[in-house]
């Protein structure tokens, strides 16, 4: 039995239909209409108009507040030399050393001290200044949060130096091991086995070094190497390690500008709260592509010689004045409102330009958020560095904060 055959005409029709479908499917798979414009005759008349405005009175009710972070809370301690504009000294008190050593189940007396080693964590320095030398001073073990810079001045003379180390000029981050002599702490017993050291630095020119602290997870450590009388009369070597139970840095008072100004940084750390008033015409009906907050210094920024610091602007999740919760502190806003900040060199009088574009866009999207910002130095540096910025407030003639907004007004299209 023969299979049914398809007529030639039907076959031809089906072939054409199939071919046409295949051709069109192949062509339709691609869609490409993007092309360079040739203006003005062959460009769409779309008006992307970019406007700038500088608002000289957009900052209102601004104030500086101090006490956000103290040196004793700092993640580092910044030490400068005597020749710096602001001298600062690191101080460390170690946990109590034992007066005897437990060997086996018996406590054995210490016969003699061989030496001490102090391990200091160098976290940052000015690499432009060669010949950095870190000096260890013997200071009383009675130091605490009430100890002042002046209290310890006698203990930072050359006569109190019990150890020193010269840091390689290429090293900015390292553990420094400084050996101290056996008699480094002669009053150990009368001080109830509590030891304290001071840290100072020297360089070929004024310089600084930042050392780790307990708060920052890089505490200074003291190791004592001793000889212990064993039970059978033999001397055996032993060591015990003590970490810091108190560390901070003390700074001399600096002459700061007077007046109704805004201050950022320093110890204790200051922050400045600025409340902005943005014209509704810009905020409500335009797209902001750039917004810069300009802060005008009224005096050179203070700090360690050769240092620089980052100034940042934080959004507030609610405006409660100086205790306002910051977005960066978990205020509940999205990360888009966290802004990168700008680097400022110590001694600079340059205008500080802070990019707040993303923040302004957040305000556009949510009008319930307070149009206030907190200016501060990077949180990791608050209480850890000397740097301090002095800028004009809204009440400072000729140095008021400025806000420049670059925006695109409502889009217009051809025929509109």
């Amino acid at each position: 039995m023969r299979a049914p055959t398809i007529s030639r005409d039907i076959f031809a029709t089906r072939a054409i239909v199939a071919s046409a479908c295949a051709l069109f499917v192949a062509l339709a798979c691609e869609e490409s209409i993007t092309a360079p414009g040739v203006c003005p005759d062959f460009c769409p008349e779309a008006f992307i108009e970019v406007l700038d405005t500088t608002l000289t009175s957009s900052v209102e009710r601004d104030s500086a507040f101090s006490g956000y972070a103290h040196a004793v809370d700092g993640f580092r301690m910044q030490v400068t030399g005597r020749d710096a504009d602001i001298e600062s000294r690191g101080i460390v008190r170690f946990l109590t050393l034992p007066d005897s050593i437990l060997i086996g189940s018996a406590t054995r007396p210490i016969v003699s001290v061989d030496s001490y080693t102090v391990r200091v964590e160098l976290r940052r320095r000015n690499l432009a200044t060669p010949g950095l030398e870190v000096l260890v001073h013997r200071i009383p073990g009675s130091i605490d949060t009430n100890t002042t810079f002046d209290d310890l001045t006698p203990y930072f003379e050359d006569s109190t130096i019990i150890g020193r180390i010269t840091v390689d000029d290429t090293v900015a981050l390292d553990s420094l091991f400084i050996t101290l002599p056996p008699n480094a702490f002669p009053n150990l017993e009368t001080d109830n086995f509590v030891t304290g050291i001071g840290l100072s630095v020297r360089g070929s020119t004024p310089t600084f070094a930042s050392f780790g602290t307990t708060e920052g997870g890089f505490a200074t450590v003291l190791t004592r190497y001793v000889q212990v009388d064993s039970a059978n009369g033999e001397l055996i070597a032993h060591s015990d390690v003590r970490g810091a139970d108190f560390d901070t840095f003390l700074r001399e008072e600096a002459v700061v500008p007077a007046g109704d100004i805004l201050v950022v940084g320093g110890t204790p750390a200051s922050r400045s709260l600025l409340r902005l008033s943005i014209p509704p015409a810009i905020l409500d009906s335009s797209e902001i592509v750039g917004a810069m907050l300009y802060l005008v210094p009224i005096a050179p920024s203070l700090g360690a010689p050769g240092d620089s610091f980052r100034v940042q602007v934080d959004a507030l999740s609610a405006d409660f004045g100086p205790k306002s919760p910051l977005v960066a502190s978990g205020g509940g806003l999205d990360s888009a409102s966290l802004l990168p900040g700008v680097l400022v060199a110590v001694g600079s009088m340059d205008t500080v330009a802070l990019d707040i574009t993303d923040l302004m866009r957040v305000w556009q999207a949510d009008s319930s958020r307070p149009q206030s910002v907190m200016i501060r130095i990077t949180p990791a540096d608050e209480g850890a560095i000397l740097a301090q910025l002095f800028v004009g407030s809204s009440r400072s003639p000729g140095a008021t904060p400025l806000l420049t907004i670059t925006y695109v007004p409502p889009f217009r299209f051809e025929g509109e």
């Binding site: 239909v17 869609e31 992307i48």
Partner: protein
């Protein structure tokens, strides 16, 4: 399932999501690039058959030619390139659904109805430019992109009256609407300024009326037709806010067709549109470089070689049009076309194919392209 419901289902299934036709560099300015509300067969004939074609939406009198329920849809792809001064662009491809038609007779009466959906103006483009802008008094290099996706469509409902076997009258009501999604962005190159980006919908609304007449000799050797169309303002709204009214053109069309032999038919149609009425509104609001709207002529002619025994008729045509929108001068278009078609499914369905060679020029630009269309007509 009744015959009517089957056709309605087929029509609905054929309704495209994007009823727009091929684009052009000449469609960037103004309302867009004018569409051709004609069937694949008429396209292959250079538009010359459009005034006599009940599957085209030019002459409502042809609605009376629907003797039974039918639905047709077409699908077209354009491949084109253009050059303007030293700028040459190649490989632009678009696929659209330019025309769909449903028609049928009203219960054995001399009256018939039709509904069609076709492109009025295609507004899809995506243009990027690089230039320099000033920000805070400083020059900044910028890259702008303006894209539009969509078009203006013409929904026509028409009634045809077969007054005599050789004399047809018809009238149509047009709802003109549609929208285009406009995206505009500006990138500030080597700048910390953020990218500007906006998406907005530009929608259109308008109405129109059309009427036509078709006369043929008793043996259908000669056919003559005449049609007119009046369109009201086109109201455009940006994000539901009325922005402008643009006057739409009135138009007059005429056609003549001769059956030269039993196998050969020659047809010619022409249309004049008073597009210049749109000029003032299109230029409104522009501070510089306003687009102009010109009155347009379109003349198409074609010859079809076929008879009842021919499974694959040969269709050849040519069309010349002046185009409505330009800044400096009026551009024009010349199209050469060819096509064929075939019935299948026991004569209840037909497939038509057309290929057009597009040549456009004027206002400092030249554009070349191919337009491929395939149409399916079903008569259950």
């Amino acid at each position: 399932m009744t015959k009517l419901s089957a056709v309605v289902c087929a029509f609905v299934l054929c309704l495209p999501s994007s009823v727009t036709a091929q684009n052009s560099v000449y469609g960037i300015r103004g309302l867009g690039f004018p569409g051709q509300p004609i069937s694949v067969r008429s396209r292959a004939l250079g538009g010359g058959w459009a005034m006599f074609d009940n599957f085209s939406s030019v002459n409502p009198a042809t609605t009376a030619s629907f003797a039974s329920l039918s639905v047709s849809a077409m699908y077209g792809t354009t491949v084109r390139n253009y050059s303007i001064d030293t700028t040459s662009v190649a490989g632009l491809v678009e696929t659209r659904f330019p025309h769909t038609m449903l028609g049928g007779n009203i219960g054995g009466t001399p009256f018939s109805f039709a509904a069609s959906l076709s492109t009025y103006a295609e507004r899809s483009f995506d243009v990027t430019t690089v230039g320099t802008g000033m920000v805070q008094g400083n020059p900044v290099q910028v890259e702008d992109r303006v894209a539009s996706d969509g078009g203006i469509v013409d929904l026509r409902g028409s009634v045809g009256w077969r007054v005599k076997s050789n004399f047809l009258l018809g009238a149509g009501f047009h709802v003109i609407n549609g929208s285009s999604r406009i995206t505009a962005s500006r990138d500030f190159i080597d700048s910390q300024l953020r990218t500007f980006n906006v998406d907005t919908d530009l929608s259109f609304e308008g109405i129109g009326l059309s009427a036509g007449v078709l006369w043929r000799t008793s043996n259908s050797r000669i056919q003559l037709s005449l049609a007119g169309r009046w369109d009201d303002n086109l109201e455009s709204s940006l994000e539901s806010e009325t922005t402008t009214d643009v006057d739409l053109p009135a138009s007059v069309s005429g056609g003549v067709s001769f059956r030269l032999t039993n196998r050969v038919r020659w047809s010619t149609s022409g249309t004049w549109r008073k597009w210049s009425v749109a000029s003032a509104e299109l230029a409104a609001g522009l501070v510089a470089n306003p687009v102009r709207a010109f009155d347009t002529w379109q003349v198409g002619t074609g010859i079809e070689l076929a008879d009842l025994e021919t499974r694959f008729p040969l269709r050849l045509g040519a069309r010349y049009s002046t185009l409505p929108f330009g800044v400096s001068e009026q551009p024009n278009e010349f199209v050469i076309s060819a096509g064929t078609g075939s019935r299948f499914a026991a004569g209840r369905a037909q497939i038509d194919l057309a290929v057009e060679r597009l040549m456009r020029q004027g206002a400092g630009a030249t554009e070349r392209g191919w337009h491929f269309t395939v149409g399916i007509t079903v008569t259950p």
